[in-house]
């Protein structure tokens, strides 16, 4: 075991050197990317490009897991397996990984362990020794750890020329295990066409590489070859496999200009700070004024959290029977039964009992449901006090209008509900009235905000509770019960 670890380390070192060889004469950018990778992996560039990579946070976490897997005591035992006349160095089996994960990572389910393992394999942290498809199988398939040099956290963006050298090199080593797969042969042919002019050069590179490889110890070479292959399996995956090095396009745009000043068309405060030469990520967008902070502190002076959390529990409890994920809906979930009765019922003007029951939960429930609004309005009309609701609805509708229509609509609402001698005058407290009078002179979508809030409170405390207690509402609730009962056998019969 120790010997194999040592091999690994030597392999890592050697590999480093050979890649230098590989990159130096080829392309400048390749070399710089190598330098970048080096400085980052040496741990100095914590704020460098590496940490800007959106995938980095995940790489670091996976590397932590890998470190635990490689732990002398509690890790996965690495062994050398003898098969016929050859030795397979530094391997462990797929089922060993799965078992280790279930034991050490708080995973109860074997499927989940396999899933996570497959993802880590797809990122190339460990790989099947004789398969281009990087998945984890829960059986005796042999796996090997990747050398940290090839980890994706080194921000590899290998170029096609490198890939060409690698493929070319493979054709020079007359070994069955190094034979090109079909897709690789295709890539090689394509690259050869693309780099026709450079090809002699690439060929020479490959030759030099192959020579270096030949001088190596046999076992060490075996390990190195497989690690190199796995690296390319990550960066040039088998067609149909996910390329795990892809990043979210939203985040990649940020990564490419890490020090780009974020300018906004309308922004002000932030921009100044980003323009300063010693740019550090600003801790706060806007310097909160003392008043604002006082306001925020005041916000926290609210009822004890226990009460508030109970209200969250209360909400969930109350709506549990309306949640199709937890309670099967009546008559049936259309997605299961292929029967759209539920949606037709919801769209119909005849509200079911469950729906009517919901109106009693709060005034917002009534106002949200078009049928509820209608019934509420009907009730208020019977009480000759429908103007409050009509005003509230009109203002609500005003906010949804295109801006072009707002001024005229504001005037209309004013004339109908608030102006002296209005046909359906509403009663608003003097403070809101004064403010609204001011607002109407410069009409905007929120001109009636104060008046609307006043009316809302009024409706909530007064007419809404009377509506819920009213015989009209109770009748609706009872009537629908009967209807649904008499309907049920029919719908059942239909299902049968």
């Amino acid at each position: 075991m120790h010997v194999s670890r040592l091999h690994c380390r030597v392999a890592c070192l050697l590999q480093g050197r050979c890649v230098v060889l590989l990159h130096l004469p080829l392309s400048r950018s390749g070399f710089t990317s190598w330098i970048m990778a080096q400085t980052n992996s040496s741990g100095q560039g914590t704020n460098g490009v590496a940490d800007e990579s959106p995938n980095m946070i995940v790489y670091r976490k996976m590397e932590e897991v890998i470190a635990r897997m490689q732990d002398e005591k509690n890790g996965i035992p690495i062994r050398t397996v003898k098969s016929f006349l050859t030795k397979i160095p530094s391997v462990f089996s797929g089922s060993e990984i799965v078992q280790w994960m279930m034991k050490n990572l708080d995973i109860e389910d074997q499927v989940e362990a396999l899933h996570l393992g497959t993802l880590m394999a797809a990122h190339g942290y460990f790989f099947p020794i004789s398969d281009h498809v990087l998945t984890l199988k829960d059986d005796g398939t042999f796996y090997r750890f990747q050398t940290p040099y090839f980890w994706p956290s080194n921000c590899w963006e290998p170029e096609n020329t490198d890939y060409a050298v690698y493929l070319c090199k493979r054709t020079m080593q007359n070994k069955a295990r190094l034979e090109l797969a079909d897709y690789e042969a295709e890539s090689l042919a394509r690259l050869q066409r693309a780099f026709a002019r450079k090809w002699e050069f690439i060929f020479m590179q490959a030759e030099a590489q192959a020579k270096v490889d030949k001088k190596r110890d046999k076992i060490e070479r075996k390990i190195l070859d497989s690690q190199e292959r796995a690296f390319w399996d990550v960066h040039r995956p088998v067609p149909g496999c996910v390329n795990t090095t892809e990043v979210d396009i939203k985040k990649s745009s940020r990564m490419k200009n890490p020090h780009k000043t974020r300018k906004s068309v309308y922004g002000l405060q932030n921009d100044i700070r980003t323009h300063s030469p010693t740019h550090t990520p600003a801790p706060e967008a806007k310097q909160p004024t003392e008043e604002e902070l006082q306001e925020q502190v005041k916000l926290t002076n609210k009822p004890p959290i226990l009460v508030l959390k109970n209200s969250l529990l209360g909400y969930t409890e109350q709506y549990l029977e309306y949640d199709p994920f937890l309670t099967p809906p009546d008559p049936s979930n259309p997605w299961i039964s292929d029967d759209t009765t539920l949606w037709e019922l919801e769209a119909s003007k005849e509200p079911g009992q469950q729906r009517v029951k919901r109106w009693a939960f709060g005034i917002d429930e009534v106002l949200k449901d078009p049928v509820g609004r209608e019934q509420f309005l009907k009730f208020l009309e019977s009480e000759f006090s429908s103007e409050n609701l009509r005003f509230w609805l009109a203002v609500q509708e005003l906010k949804k209008r295109p801006i072009r229509e707002v001024p005229t609509r504001v005037q209309e609402i004013w004339q109908e509900f608030l102006a002296p001698g209005a046909p359906s005058a509403i009663n608003v407290d003097s403070k809101s009235y004064d403010k609204t009078t001011q607002n109407v002179k410069d009409p905007g979508r929120y001109a009636f905000e104060d008046a609307q809030e006043h009316i809302y409170k009024l409706m909530k405390s007064d007419s809404y509770s009377r509506f819920i207690r009213s015989s009209a509402y109770q009748e609706l609730l009872q009537a629908k019960k009967k209807v649904t009962k008499s309907n049920k056998p029919q719908s059942l019969a239909k299902n049968i």
Binding site: E112, V265, E284, L312, Y315, F325, L326, T327, P328, K400
Partner: protein, 430 residues
């Protein structure tokens, strides 16, 4: 098509130096003014009082923030899962994926449900927007777009006039609205109308209970509210220090607020009327990819690259729960609540959807199936199904097969009760 109306708002003479240049719409004492970037900088520097430097202001803001944190912690009495101890345990959920929508040629980046509960719209990196009838698996419209980075899409609330919104990454960061018609042969792309424009990519969009207003979030660190008809900017929202990745509108009829989250690891709650940032939450350790209101509107959840989802109570003004697990190491990209708010569906970069029990803080179940990152999950408007979009170029619809498991639970409870009565009577008889 309507670009001119919009251009007027972003390019023109500066109100201060009157040179024609790109303008920043800024607010000075709530009055909208258009300044060029130079004048904005000059003005901001004048704003500093004597003896004040950026450093001293930063320090002051830090101490004030600390104070605020202390105040918040004073009220930190119990955790949500402790309160929820008495709540019934969810019986085994059985959620299965039964529909796979294939048709996109590249990563699906966003999806949204139509209010009719069965249609959905999806946008993909192949530059196409598709309107599906997820119930019958039919593709109703396919809209090819000139740009491949269609980052977001949304359905307008009114069914009669279904609108789609696209965010582009590239030279033009525009949002367009496309009116949908019943005529399948009509060229929809020709009816495209630009509504909004940002200086960086548009990451999210939402209609505000009306086809006439559109709320967008952008990589330029702002959110903005637009008038769809004229393309006029109604309100802009400044406060994030980095890309805004997601926004969600308060669910209640009267709610005039929305929440946004972004790369500055902050989730901000905004007042749509004034443009003020009313609350701000900072406890994630990496980019916030998605924010979603709790159905009551009193709380919201966020999904982040730090592999956690968090739950914030707005009235308590603090984080009340963290949803995480040792075995979940990949970032969460999206989340949504079930109708009752008891379940939180969260899509992850490890191709799975984890379903969390919001109250208990435990994982209720996990959904496998997607073969690449899950980019978006959305519960249908009536809560009957869960739609998910993924980089594997498919959309999937899943729903619950739990047949009255809660009733079974109650039945067992009843049985216990009856049993205990029987035992009691039995002993009495003896």
């Amino acid at each position: 098509m309507c670009d001119q109306t919009f251009m007027a708002a972003t390019f023109g003479p500066c109100d201060s130096c009157s040179k024609p240049s790109p303008l920043m719409n800024i607010y000075i004492k709530n009055e909208a003014t258009n300044y060029c970037s130079l004048c904005v900088e000059m003005m901001a520097c004048q704003g500093l009082q004597k003896g004040e430097t950026l450093e001293s202001l930063k320090r002051e803001s830090e101490t004030l923030k600390k104070k605020l944190e202390e105040e918040r912690n004073k009220l930190n009495d119990v955790e949500l899962h402790q309160v929820a101890e008495k709540v019934e345990v969810l019986s085994a959920l059985s959620i299965k994926t039964r529909r796979v929508l294939k048709g996109h040629g590249n990563k699906v980046l966003c999806m949204d449900w139509c209010k009719d509960k069965r249609r959905m719209v999806s946008s993909s990196q192949d530059g196409k927007v598709i309107v599906w009838d997820a119930f019958t698996l039919n593709k109703e419209h396919g809209v090819p777009l000139p740009c491949t980075w269609v980052l977001a899409c949304a359905y307008a609330p009114l069914r009669s006039l279904c609108l789609i919104m696209n965010g582009y990454l590239g030279l033009d960061n525009k949002c367009s609205v496309i009116p949908l018609s019943l005529d399948k042969n009509e060229n929809l792309a020709a009816k495209k109308k630009s509504v909004a424009m940002h200086t960086n990519y548009v990451s999210g969009c939402s209609f505000t209970n009306s086809d006439m207003q559109l709320l967008t979030s952008s990589g330029d660190g702002t959110c903005a509210l637009w008038d769809v008809e004229s393309g006029q900017l109604l309100q802009s929202f400044h406060g994030h220090t980095a890309d805004v990745l997601s926004l969600d509108l308060a669910p209640s009829e009267t709610g005039n607020t929305f929440v946004s989250g972004g790369c500055d690891m902050k989730a901000n709650v905004w007042d749509m009327r004034s443009g003020q940032n009313i609350q701000s939450f900072e406890s994630h350790e990496s980019d916030i990819n998605c924010v979603k209101y709790y159905p009551s509107g009193d709380a919201f959840a966020s999904a982040s690259d730090d592999a956690t989802c968090r739950f914030y109570d707005l009235r308590a003004d603090r984080e009340v729960a963290v949803y995480q697990k040792d075995s979940i190491i990949f970032g969460a990209s999206t989340c949504d609540f079930s109708l009752s708010g008891r379940l939180l569906f969260a899509g992850y970069n490890d191709y799975t959807i984890n379903v969390w029990d919001v109250l208990k803080g435990t994982r209720a179940t996990i959904l496998f199936g997607h073969e690449n990152r899950v980019s978006r999950v959305r519960v249908s408007p009536d809560g009957t199904a869960l739609g998910s979009a993924s980089w594997d170029s498919t959309l999937r619809v899943s729903w619950s097969f739990s047949t009255g498991s809660n009733y079974i639970f109650r039945f067992i409870k009843l049985l216990f009760w009856v049993n205990s009565r029987l035992v009691l009577e039995f002993t009495v008889a003896f």
